[in-house]
Symmetry: C2
Subunit: 125 residues, 2 copies
């Protein structure tokens, strides 16, 4: 498929797909005229890339980790494994922080709601 279709199927912009290629995250086969062509597998690959971006990894870090996703049967050095584990931990910490932030928001919402009730039924007590 061509780049427009891949973009449509992944929900990622054409611009971003070209950027991913520039960053070495995605490869394409070029037709004689220079147009990029992708395989079905690339849909999934782009999904993974997006997920890693969401996780807060940079292009460079994703590039380090991707080979492991590509060829799970090769060694790819302990460094990459180390890197993945490290990013996983960082992500885990971040999730913990986000949950705390959500709790803080929850508290605020609860207090605001409670006070609204007070306003609505001032004669309740």
């Amino acid at each position: 498929m061509r780049i427009g279709e891949l973009a449509a199927r992944t929900g990622v912009s054409v611009r971003s797909l070209r950027y991913y290629e520039e960053q070495g995250l995605l490869t394409s086969v070029r037709s004689a005229s220079g147009q990029r062509h992708y395989t079905e597998d690339d849909v999934e690959r782009v999904g993974f890339i997006q997920r890693m971006y969401t996780a807060g990894l940079s292009s460079r870090t994703i590039a380090e980790v991707l080979p492991c996703a590509d060829a799970p049967s090769e060694e790819h050095s302990d460094a990459a494994l180390e890197r993945m584990a490290q990013e996983r931990d960082r992500l885990s910490e971040h999730i913990t922080e986000l949950i705390r932030a959500r709790d803080a928001l929850d508290d605020l919402v609860a207090i605001a709601r409670a006070h609204r009730e007070t306003l609505r039924a001032p004669a309740a007590r």
Copy 2:
């Protein structure tokens, strides 16, 4: 206390504290010479601001939400409450995505580790 001490106690840069003030998130009392002075409460306030930034809220959104944290006993319009609830949900979705991303990383790590075992004990089977 002056800005340097607040920075030290919150772990936030002096630059950021000025930026927060510029964004209307933090106020200070100015001495005759123009220096900013803060209260003990501001330490906690900066912590909350940081937490909201971590949660992915923009300055503008934090500015909308902060009045509720400041004065829980006022109404502050349903709009702010609505906004908080909305941000909370957005954050929740984001957390879910991050957990999925972490799971993906976990899978990769597990596969890589398993393969390393295979290499280390090739005669195991």
